[in-house]
Symmetry: D2
Subunit: 138 residues, 4 copies
């Protein structure tokens, strides 16, 4: 399975008055993390988008286990768990990078769209790259 | 079942370069919507928090169906779907308020914490208010 | 002078761990407010953008006077203070809508761009509408 | 003068439908940058806050020169330009880290507050550290 790890530091702007990271920001972190994973198989999401491909989030879920706090170093371990001709499923484990405490797990399903927002098959080269990793049905 | 409806207008800041609302903002909308629902049973989340209660998001999931766009009027229909002594489950349907097109559905599970972030039972008056609505086991 | 007023309620997501609204969000509120003002002279920014016009923020400044807090009702009084062939200057007073306490003042300078991000003169109909209000040099 | 440099990569969530970074996010970047600068003189803002000190933004201004785009590497050069017993003024230059193109300049004035949000003098050790750098009147 393809996987990658991403580190970032919690921004003050990401905290809320409960003194912890506001829950919606974890989805932003997941997006940063899967962009990193996509880079590992030789593609940049920026380039894919420039070529007319879009990966839109079709489903997202997060389970929150322990709070993240301002200035914490966060580690996101990402795995490409499934690929079909039109979708990619990513799983995430979000940890405190110093203590290794598990803060959250998440899953997102991405769907391949063209510039008119129609569902299309993933680009051939992306499928070939994934196939070379033993993933997908390309 | 307790339910409520909330309307808001999409902010420019909520769009991304795909020309649609960035997916994490739906969780912000859900939070606004459940605050409105909580108001309908005579409580303000602000007051609950001032009394030392916190409702932390323990789980969140969103299924995205159609994109929301800048300046769209959005309607969020919220339902309190389940209550235990320590948790509340809210379900949301997010619609375009003008066309009634369904844009997304979501569910969040909230857990009751005290000021030290320990899990505690929901305050007695909240449970009584819910019980009066035929919800929960208070 | 053209002016308008906008009301909104502080979102939980807009607070930070200092227990007040994080300072960058005031610029989002200003954007909502000037969109409302633009609507008062018969234009929708959404329509202007659909016609290829963009108003990009060239300068922004905020003076913070007193904190805004979660669930506060906020009132933003907006004034179009100056217009040239290519720019519009908006001034804002941000108040607590209940107490009328002044929370912040702000100013933004917007510049007219075409779809290629080149500076262009404001559309003729916008300038005529402003001129009818005694503003600008159209 | 004290100065520091910070690098970050533009997040997808920071773009808007104009295809560029939404203007309010620059203030978030400035906050990250001045936290880094504060670290250079031996303090962590997190620790300062834990000791009861708050640095609240009293004034902020940004001049936008060229757009930042998704996935761009951004460099923020920060300088502590002025210190009084109760305030610190930071100046920022925001650049594309690859092309060195200047994207924006910004200035923020921070004011020292205690936990009750009252204006107080900066902590003695912070003033001593600044004085050792030839800054301020400690």
């Amino acid at each position: 399975m393809l996987h990658s790890a991403t580190e970032l530091r919690v921004r003050y702007a990401e905290t809320d008055q409960m003194g912890v990271v506001y829950h919606s920001h974890y989805l932003v972190w997941c997006e940063i993390a899967r962009t990193d994973l996509i880079r590992t198989f030789g593609a940049s999401y920026r380039d894919l988008e420039a070529r007319g491909m879009r990966l839109a989030v079709a489903e997202a879920s997060v389970r929150y286990i322990a709070p993240a706090r301002y200035d914490d170093r966060i580690r996101i371990e990402t795995q490409l768990s499934g690929v079909t001709s039109r979708t990619m499923v990513f799983d995430y484990v979000i940890l405190n990078a110093d203590s290794a405490e598990r803060l959250a797990t998440a899953r997102t399903t991405l769907i391949s769209l063209n510039e008119s927002n129609r569902v299309v098959t993933l680009p051939a080269d992306v499928r070939r790259a994934l196939s070379a990793e033993g993933i997908g049905d390309a």
